[in-house]
């Protein structure tokens, strides 16, 4: 399986370390979500991949070969800071960019027509980019990343500023490109979207990859967590369950961490809950990406403080 590898990237701006040994890989056909707080180094990593910035050390490879200028032409890139020529017509601009990426005139025109149609800006082909609303400019920006039929997609915050319809269009386009075997890497702060779209997620903090894996891998805590809602129970009923550690207890809702993940590990807890009172709800707690993200970020912050 061809891979887009980010291999031990290091980058410092003066005394500020932007990236420290950042390493991960995105497989062909995979959608990879790149998550991290502001200034964590996502944009820096993407810029290095596109050759806009030079890394101090490390390299980015595609199919085992360094991503050089020739290969970068085959990348579709949506920079964090959006930018197109404001006084150039949408259609002309997309054809120009496709041509710079190596397409012939006829091919470029067809591609421009296809993508403006697909992204719902076909009616605006003859307008200057600056005349479009920000949302539509964003669609044109995506078209600019897609128009040359790229082999790799690198999108920095592609969803910011989009309306729900555009988010759906964008999501389906990303899924379709991944289906065609394109590795897609995108960064976002909209964690619900990342959770829905991505096969794998990487969380960066201060230039380092602090969590990396499939959604399931990331969500899996070392010990199972269960939640029970019991009416009319004596406070502290859950503490009697062997091996259970009470994480929160407001008298009605109790969250408990058990030891391990084995089949039936929750059964003693369930029995205790039914015995304690009227059981209303009982189920496993699966942390959302947002929970994970907060956990990972605060965990590392504590580590830093220590």
């Amino acid at each position: 399986m061809p891979q887009l590898e980010f291999d031990h990237l290091n980058k410092a701006y003066g005394s500020l370390r932007a990236l420290t040994d950042l390493t991960f890989a995105v497989e062909a056909g995979e959608i990879f979500g790149f998550v991290g707080s502001n200034g964590a180094g996502k944009t820096t990593a993407m810029r290095i991949a596109l050759g806009v910035l030079a890394a101090d050390s490390g390299e980015v490879r595609w199919k085992g070969r360094p991503l050089d200028l020739d290969m970068r032409r085959r990348v579709g890139y949506m920079p964090e800071e959006r930018g197109l020529y404001p006084k150039m017509k949408v259609g002309e601009q997309l054809v120009y960019l496709a041509r710079l990426h190596g397409m012939g005139q006829a091919e470029a025109t067809t591609a421009m027509e296809r993508w403006t149609e697909r992204l719902g800006v076909a009616a605006r082909r003859g307008d200057d980019v600056e005349k479009l609303s920000l949302g539509n400019q964003q669609r044109v920006q995506l078209a600019a990343a897609l128009v040359h039929d790229p082999e790799i997609l690198v999108l920095d915050e592609p969803f910011s500023g989009l309306d729900p319809v555009a988010v759906d269009v964008m999501s389906s386009v990303l899924a379709e490109r991944a289906g065609a075997g394109v590795p897609v890497i995108f960064s976002s702060h909209q964690l619900d979207l990342v959770e829905r779209l991505c096969d794998r997620v990487g969380i960066v903090r201060a230039g380092q990859m602090v969590a990396l894996g499939t959604k399931e891998e990331l969500r899996r805590t070392p010990n199972a967590r269960w939640r029970a809602v019991v009416d009319g129970a004596a406070p502290g009923w859950a503490r009697t369950v062997p091996g259970a550690q009470v994480l929160s207890d407001d008298g009605r809702e109790v969250v408990v961490e058990l030891t391990g993940h084995e089949q039936g590990v929750e059964q003693p807890l369930l029995r205790a809950a039914t015995a304690a009172g009227q059981l209303r709800e009982f189920g496993p707690v699966v942390p959302s990406l947002a929970d994970l993200f907060r956990g990972v970020v605060s965990e590392t912050e504590e580590k830093d403080a220590a």
């Binding site: 806009v52 800071e81 041509r99």
Partner: protein
């Protein structure tokens, strides 16, 4: 779809020409530019025809004045012609009788001279034209003078010649007088060329600076730099804007020269161009390339349109240094060591060499060396400017220091 045949890589040349074509389209073929160009052209053409109309207002295809003389005053005829030639006025002179002339005064005749040639009666329709009056006066005076000289036993012809030659003969110890005569028209061509270079650079330089900053402020540069080399982008930009600036110079120049030659305003300006023009053209292009790169490179250091002036103004002033040095230093002392050394330096040579050339005394090796140095400077500057450009384009916020940009 990624299994499609990958699109082919563009050659450097293809990239540069695509960027250049976009620049031409974005800067030349815009409504605002075409309109302002059209307005300038119309103003220019109309202006020249108006100028021509005023210059030839009294010119009905014939002479400036038509004067009739009575046979008694016919002796005045050669003096009138001579006086006319001296003031650049052409005269049609007819010999008529008073009766024949009088009705024609209302028509095409400007004046009738009759009676004593020493004190002729000047008959006009209403008022005597001042210019004609002065002309007739000097003709009459010349006639009287000639008569007196003859009476005194002298030869009026000799007298006139002696009088005409009675002027101080100015000689300068510094300059070779013969040369001054010879390089007249070529000198004009060279000065016009370096002046055009100066003006094209003042216009084109700020266009280039604006174009570079435009890409930075619109951030489109990040996509472009992920696709093509910064040097290709910069070279294409300068080529495109250069073509636009030159096209405007040529169009406006043609707008001035074509109607001027149609109307005959340029008659008498016969210029033998020949090799001088080719050399001048070569230096024009080299100079444009070198200075454009300076503008482009420096513009990459700034990130806001408002800061353009901070970069272009000093460069504009710098442009005047070689211009004035070429105009004054070279003309005063074309063969001095300072001039010979300066004219090898790429920022001075485009201005100095064309002027030195028309003064003569430029050895072939000097010219070839200067052209060679300038030709080598262009790719070197492309490299440096592209380096600054690359570091500078991602730098937003304040102005970047040149040393930081070069160090990268």
């Amino acid at each position: 779809m990624s299994q499609q045949t990958p699109t082919s890589r563009n050659s450097t040349f293809a990239n540069i020409s695509m960027v250049a074509r976009r620049e031409v389209r974005a800067r030349f073929f815009t409504k605002s530019n075409l309109i302002s160009l059209a307005i300038m052209l119309v103003v220019l053409v109309v202006g020249i025809f108006v100028l021509d109309y005023f210059a030839n207002r009294d010119d009905d295809g014939a002479a400036d004045f038509t004067v009739a003389v009575e046979s008694s005053a016919a002796e005045l005829e050669p003096q009138l012609v001579a006086a006319g030639a001296a003031t650049g006025t052409s005269l049609d002179i007819e010999v008529l009788s008073r009766d024949e002339a009088e009705p024609r005064l209302a028509d095409d005749l400007d004046a009738f001279l009759g009676g004593d040639p020493a004190r002729p009666e000047m008959l006009v329709e209403e008022q005597a034209d001042q210019q004609l009056l002065a002309l007739v006066t000097s003709a009459v005076q010349a006639h009287v003078l000639a008569t007196q000289v003859t009476e005194l036993g002298g030869d009026p012809q000799e007298f006139t010649e002696a009088l005409a030659g009675a002027a101080p003969q100015v000689a300068s110890v510094a300059a070779d007088e013969d040369d001054t005569e010879q390089f007249g028209p070529q000198y004009l061509v060279a000065v016009v060329a370096i002046s055009l270079l100066l003006f094209a650079l003042i216009g084109g330089g700020s266009l280039i600076a604006m174009g570079v900053v435009e890409e930075k402020t619109s951030r489109v540069v990040e996509i472009l730099l992920a696709t093509i080399r910064p040097s290709e982008l910069l070279a294409g930009k300068i080529l495109g804007i250069g073509i636009v600036s030159l096209a405007q110079v040529v169009i406006l120049g043609a707008g001035a020269v074509v109607p001027a030659s149609v109307t005959g305003l340029l008659e008498g300006f016969e210029i033998d161009l020949g090799g001088t023009v080719l050399l001048v053209l070569l230096w024009f292009l080299l100079g444009f390339a070198i200075f454009s790169l300076l503008f482009g490179g420096f513009a990459a250091l700034i990130s806001r349109q408002e800061e353009i002036g901070a970069v272009t103004t000093p460069l504009m002033f710098l442009l005047f240094v070689p211009y004035y040095l070429a105009m004054f230093m070279v003309t005063a002392n074309p063969d001095s060591t300072v001039v010979r050394v300066l004219s090898q330096i790429p920022f001075f040579s485009p201005f100095m060499m064309p002027v030195r050339n028309v003064f003569g005394g430029v050895e072939a090796w000097e010219m070839l060396l200067a052209i060679g140095i300038a030709l080598l400077t262009v790719p070197l500057l492309v490299w440096i400017a592209a380096r600054v450009y690359r570091r500078g384009v991602l730098h937003t916020g304040g102005r970047m220091k040149l040393t930081d940009a070069l160090r990268g």
